[in-house]
Subunit: 370 residues, 3 copies
Amino acid sequence: MSTYFKTADTYVTGSMTLPQKYYTSQDVFADEMNRIYKNSWVCVGHHSRVAGAGEYFLADVLGESLIILRDKQNQVRAYYNVCRHRGTRICEESEGRFSGSIQCSYHAWTYGLDGTLIGAPFMKELDGFRWEDFPLNPVRLHLWEGFIFVSLSQTPQPFEQAYAPLLNRLQRWNVGGLRVHTRHVYDAATNWKYVFQNFNECYHCPTIHPMLNKFTNYTSAENDLVEGPFLGGYMNITGGDSMTMTGRMCALPLGDLSTGIEKRGFYYTLLPNLLLNIHPDYLMFHMLFPTAPGRTTIVSEWLFNAEAFDKPDFRPQEAVDFWHITNLQDWHVCELAQLGVTSQAYTPGWYSPRESLLAAFDREYLRIME
Amino acid sequence: MSTYFKTADTYVTGSMTLPQKYYTSQDVFADEMNRIYKNSWVCVGHHSRVAGAGEYFLADVLGESLIILRDKQNQVRAYYNVCRHRGTRICEESEGRFSGSIQCSYHAWTYGLDGTLIGAPFMKELDGFRWEDFPLNPVRLHLWEGFIFVSLSQTPQPFEQAYAPLLNRLQRWNVGGLRVHTRHVYDAATNWKYVFQNFNECYHCPTIHPMLNKFTNYTSAENDLVEGPFLGGYMNITGGDSMTMTGRMCALPLGDLSTGIEKRGFYYTLLPNLLLNIHPDYLMFHMLFPTAPGRTTIVSEWLFNAEAFDKPDFRPQEAVDFWHITNLQDWHVCELAQLGVTSQAYTPGWYSPRESLLAAFDREYLRIME
Amino acid sequence: MSTYFKTADTYVTGSMTLPQKYYTSQDVFADEMNRIYKNSWVCVGHHSRVAGAGEYFLADVLGESLIILRDKQNQVRAYYNVCRHRGTRICEESEGRFSGSIQCSYHAWTYGLDGTLIGAPFMKELDGFRWEDFPLNPVRLHLWEGFIFVSLSQTPQPFEQAYAPLLNRLQRWNVGGLRVHTRHVYDAATNWKYVFQNFNECYHCPTIHPMLNKFTNYTSAENDLVEGPFLGGYMNITGGDSMTMTGRMCALPLGDLSTGIEKRGFYYTLLPNLLLNIHPDYLMFHMLFPTAPGRTTIVSEWLFNAEAFDKPDFRPQEAVDFWHITNLQDWHVCELAQLGVTSQAYTPGWYSPRESLLAAFDREYLRIME
């Protein structure tokens, strides 16, 4: 076994689920969006979505529409999607390619890909109008292993400091070199924490995931991140070579199989919004965008080795279908959890010994919130 | 005429309709849900819906999902639909039959029909976990004449005390022995009190109900319950033998016709949520479940003599259609009342002499609310 | 050029757009509905919609349903659509003709077209019920050039005083003698002020309106009302004789073309809710009915010379289509403005020299609000 991993997590007897208000209160929700989402680095996608200069996509973070683009110097940048003239939303298409500049459709104010205001009809007539005062508003951005993170905070913690425990952890899979194949957007009627918690246990697998449960022994999880904002570990895949509809690998491996990634699924939750699911031949990740105490947009993307796309035996749909089916099963029980927690009869219950990471998640969450 | 009945109600000149806030204010609504609905016995259905052991249906009371079931000892019981593990909603199907136990679909925690926790994977490993502390949360329940009442109060008034004026009033119709044939669920954009008030007068019958109005003289109502939480009386049916599409009786009589039930329709409103409509050959009742100041779910059920179902001349649709048409007419005018009362031009108006029961309803309502 | 017009507006350098709260705050919205809409004369339509005695239509102003009708004395009147018995909404059809009286469908209380209560079953039995105390509640109404204005204020400013700057301004077009041909109702996800502001500038025309932009030089606007609640002026039509799909006039002229109305489009915004768009051969007007900070119902009507309807070369659709296409373009950018202004990145921006009327609108708006 890789030296990365140790089974260090210990179930604390009597760990209880969170009180109701953390799932239902509008005030708590506003508070956690401020304390947790606004102050953190939020993942909005993988840089392979903007492979060429001028390519962009829109991200919706905390109700803000953001333009994520690659500029002419090959830098990935982020801007608020707001014209500096009268505040109009500029881009409507969720993704596309700018032909060298960004033009607002209302009065044709135009910006360079670096955000500079380069065109504004009649404004030259105005004394005192300083063009350099009206660039697109930039958003702080950080790239890590190909993942694009943004922060809406004025004073974010430096990324390397915030993500120190993880910085080198994904090297084996060459994540920065992967390429997005499929993207699904789910709208789930549940609190975002239920999605996090659900991802951190396989206690539900026999009941909810009959297909997935054939591949792994749900009691076999080995967790290496057991406390703090980043949690998770791996499970051995015993029912096949990978978690796919056929049990076969469906693409080139992501890295050297001998480094401990063969026949294993790795599962990590990264506060506040990133869930990683890494298999020998593909990586799926979820991004969570909470919109209300009981509502979460979940964006899921499937990435493969960039070299795999041209191979004759590239069968990505076997991975996509496997997890799309599994995702829907998960969101559904998360919705049932949300329905139940609103009851006046709900009281915190005991976590089972197989839910130690959930108790750890709750501890970290309460540490920030209280 | 039966000795039950006397025409004791007297119209109080100048009785006025309620001020606007009682129909539109979110605060008043919250207050009345607490004072009236939470503190009362709320009807959720008739016991013939759970005729056999293990049969259940879900009721939605004050936003709470409740499981109503018949256990192996033939007792009707009610539980909050909330798992004691992590609070997940357990049942999703609105009705069905448990095969001896109730299992949560998330992590397979399992309960007996008596609510006892009988299965919970891995929890045996935990010192200090007391299984007997985690049964399904029971809900207080009372059966009266086959009607199932629940109370979400911790300290409800004893049912026999609350319903003392009514306890023996339905004996002639053998209501406990009737059987549900049809169930309709209506969603009406109106305050629940408008439905109550509409049920308590036939002043609207000539305008709204041309079909019904052929059967009864709308000025002929004889009320025997004229003050307090229970109101109503009967009307003579002059246009046929019963209120059906054909005017014929469509099923075996509910009781001995010579006891005063022949060619009469009996109408009672039982605060907080039960409206009874009893004819010689069928009983229809409405259950009101307010969801907002201007929104009410109305569940209507048609019951017949259990022995009638196998008879060749059983034509229940003649009663179902008659009242479904009439119900839709009623809900519509209640919706118009709700639309009007939101106007700044609305001021309380005079009740007519044919609306004495509405004034009585308002008096009882204000007695509780003020 | 007509002596009516002078180019008196001067752009004030550095005029800035309004702060965010004026477009997004629920409190500001409630405040402006009270200060601006409730205290003003609100246009609800043109009198040609109720040409004959008994004809009526419903208007929805500040959440109030109003009955606008023509009575037997040929007077246009307005009433709250609320029965004086129990407050029920009386009329449901959005337009029609009363056959001499107005009857509530619930309990048949009946009113004359002058609002008098003339029928109420059984109320004669009641001592002390004074029929004259229960007429339909009247709404203050004023006719100007055929436009019907109502006020929900108890103490409105006299119309002639409020509209003094405009009173004789429309005489050339014989507006009172025009006739409604087409009516469109739009639901736009934008603040009402964005619609006002959009109407007051053609700076957006090259980008948004390629079809319209062929007819006029967007820098050619001559404004004659440049400060206060009424703003606007005219533009020369250089691409045709009128603004229609073909560029031809599509109906008889509205007045004597030699009075300065030939080949010109006149554009006026009248606070709080009327936008006028007058061309040689038709008049289009918009009425704004705000329903939320980010939502506005826009009712647009196209009027023509009453004598034009019978002419063989009456082609009204050429005007209707032209503006329906243009309207949709306008509402869309107004919706983009609303989306953008909600961003935390929004800050007031500089108006261009071509947006002087918007700055004037904002000044008048702030004068009332602050």
